[in-house]
C-alpha cells in the first residue's frame, strides 16, 4: 500500500467517524432542534403554563378576529396543523404577511384555559413565488384558495403567460 493510498483510507475512516458522530448527535437532539411545536404536539405534551414555547402552524380559515383592548390592538385567531387547533391571542402589530391560511410561528405561553398567549408572532412564507396576476388568475378560475391551503402543483402555473395587467399590479403589489 502506498502512502497516498494509506492516507486516503485514513481520511475516509475519519470521515465515517465524524459523519456518524454528527448523525448520532443530531438524532439525539432531534426534539431540541425544531424551531416550533405543532398544535398536535402541544395536545400530546401538555406543557406547564409558565413554559415559554413557540407554536407554529397555519392560521385557520375564518378564525381571525381583530379588535382592541385598552386601546391596544388585540388579535384572536386559531393556529392549526390539520389535526388540532389552538386558540391564540396576540396584542401587538402583526407582520404584513399575516393572513388566514398563512404559516405563522407564535412565541408565548399556553394558559390554563387552553388559550395560547403570544408575545410575538412571526410570519412564515412558503417556497412558492408567483406574480400577483398569476395568483389572481388561479383564484378566479377557482383553482386555488390561499386561505385553504398551498397552491396547486407548480407545473400547472409557472409558465402561465402574465396578464396584460402586469404593469398595473406591479405598482400595487
Amino acid at each position: 500500500m502506498t502512502r497516498k493510498r494509506r492516507r486516503l483510507y485514513w481520511l475516509l475512516a475519519c470521515g465515517l467517524g465524524v459523519g456518524s458522530a454528527a448523525a448520532l448527535a443530531l438524532s439525539a437532539f432531534r426534539d431540541n432542534l425544531v424551531f416550533f411545536v405543532l398544535p398536535s404536539d402541544l395536545a400530546a405534551q401538555h406543557p406547564g403554563p409558565d413554559r415559554t414555547l413557540r407554536l407554529g402552524g397555519l392560521v385557520a380559515e375564518g378564525s381571525v378576529m381583530r379588535g382592541s383592548e385598552d386601546g391596544h390592538p388585540l388579535a384572536r385567531f386559531r393556529i392549526t396543523d390539520g389535526r388540532d387547533a389552538v386558540p391564540v391571542t396576540f396584542s401587538g402589530i402583526l407582520p404584513d404577511l399575516f393572513r388566514e391560511g398563512q404559516g405563522v410561528v407564535a412565541l408565548g405561553t399556553l394558559g390554563r384555559d387552553g388559550v395560547f398567549h403570544a408575545a410575538e408572532v412571526l410570519a412564515k412564507h412558503d417556497e412558492t413565488y408567483m406574480p400577483k396576476d398569476v395568483a389572481e388568475a388561479l383564484k378566479q378560475k377557482g383553482l386555488w384558495n390561499p386561505k385553504a391551503g398551498p397552491p396547486p402543483p407548480a407545473s400547472t402555473w409557472n409558465t402561465l403567460a402574465p396578464a396584460k395587467a402586469g404593469a398595473a399590479t406591479k405598482a400595487g403589489g
Binding site: G15, L26, V34, P95, L160, G173
Partner: protein, 290 residues
C-alpha cells in the same frame, strides 16, 4: 513532508540552483519555470506552477468579464423587470442577491473541502494555495447571504434573526470559514498551517448536508427549497430565469476571485523564492570573500 512533496509530482521540475531550498518552499522551482518534459498524471499536471499560471492567466479575463456581465444582467432583470411576488411584493427581489450567495457559500465550502483532500492525501501544492484563497472569498459570500437574509427576514417574517436550524447552520458555516482563514495562516511553517486548515475544513463538511436538509429534517422558520431535482420549481419562470442568470454570474465571479487570488499567491511564492535564493547567493559570496 519535505521528502514526499519533492518526490511526488511528475511534472514538477526543480531548477538546479533551487534544489537546496526545497524545505523552505516546495514551489521554489518557480524561479525557473521551464516547461516540463513529462507531464504528471491526473491533477498533478497542475502542480506545475508555470502550467497553472498560463492556464489561469488565459481563463482569467473570461471568468471576470463573464461573471460581471452575467451578474449585472441577472440583477438588473431581477431587481427591475421581473414581476413582484403576489404576497411578498417587491421585497421578493432580495432573493436575486440572497439565494445565489447562499448557493455559492455552500459550493465554495465544497471546493475548499476538495482542495483539502487533495492537500492531505496527494500533497498537492496548488491545492494548499487554493484552499487558503477560497476561504476569504467563501466567507464574503456567506456574509452577503447572512446580511441580505436578515434584511429580507425583517419585512417578511417580522424578525432580523431567529435561531432556527437553517439560519444557525449557515452561521456555523460562516464561522468555519473564519476559523479556516485564521488557522491556515496561524503557523510559521506554512505546511503545518495547510495541514491544520485542511483537517478543519474536512471536519466542517458535516455541516453542508445539515444546511441543505435542515428545512426538511426539522421545522424551521425558513421555507423549504423552491428548486429541487425531482419536481418543477415552484417559482414563476419569469422569476426563475433572472435567478439562474445571477447564480451563473455569481459562480463565475467566485471562480474569477479565487483564480486571481491563487495566481497572486503563486507569484508571491515565486518572488519569495527568488529573494531567498538571491540572499543565499550573497551569503555565499560574503563567506567566500571572508
Amino acid at each position: 513532508m519535505t521528502a514526499e512533496s519533492s518526490a511526488s509530482p511528475g511534472g514538477f521540475e526543480m531548477a538546479p540552483g533551487a534544489a537546496m531550498f526545497r524545505s523552505v518552499d516546495a514551489l521554489s522551482s518557480l524561479a525557473a519555470p521551464v516547461p516540463p518534459k513529462a507531464p504528471g498524471r491526473g491533477l498533478h499536471r497542475f502542480a506545475n506552477p508555470g502550467r497553472f499560471l498560463r492556464l489561469a492567466g488565459a481563463l482569467q479575463p473570461w471568468l471576470t468579464a463573464g461573471g460581471l456581465i452575467l451578474t449585472a444582467a441577472g440583477l438588473v432583470w431581477g431587481l427591475v423587470f421581473a414581476p413582484a411576488d403576489w404576497q411578498q411584493g417587491d421585497a421578493v427581489r432580495i432573493m436575486y442577491v440572497h439565494v445565489p450567495a447562499a448557493w455559492l457559500a455552500s459550493a465554495g465550502y465544497l471546493a475548499l473541502a476538495v482542495c483539502s483532500v487533495l492537500s492531505l492525501v496527494w500533497r498537492h501544492p496548488l491545492a494548499d494555495l487554493a484552499a487558503a484563497e477560497i476561504g476569504p472569498v467563501g466567507a464574503a459570500f456567506t456574509g452577503i447571504c447572512l446580511a441580505t437574509g436578515s434584511l429580507w427576514g425583517k419585512p417578511m417574517w417580522g424578525a432580523w434573526w431567529v435561531w432556527d436550524a437553517r439560519l444557525t447552520s449557515v452561521l456555523v458555516l460562516f464561522f468555519l470559514y473564519l476559523g479556516h482563514i485564521a488557522l491556515i495562516r496561524a503557523f510559521d511553517d506554512p505546511t503545518r498551517g495547510y495541514r491544520a486548515g485542511a483537517i478543519l475544513a474536512l471536519v466542517g463538511v458535516v455541516n453542508l448536508p445539515i444546511i441543505k436538509f435542515s428545512v426538511d429534517w426539522w421545522n424551521t422558520l425558513h421555507q423549504p427549497a423552491t428548486i429541487s431535482l425531482t419536481g418543477a420549481p415552484s417559482m414563476y419562470l419569469g422569476m426563475l430565469w433572472p435567478l439562474a442568470l445571477t447564480a451563473l454570474g455569481y459562480t463565475l465571479v467566485f471562480a474569477a476571485l479565487v483564480t486571481a487570488r491563487t495566481r497572486a499567491a503563486v507569484m508571491e511564492r515565486r518572488i519569495r523564492a527568488l529573494l531567498m535564493a538571491a540572499a543565499a547567493r550573497e551569503d555565499g559570496a560574503v563567506q567566500v570573500a571572508a
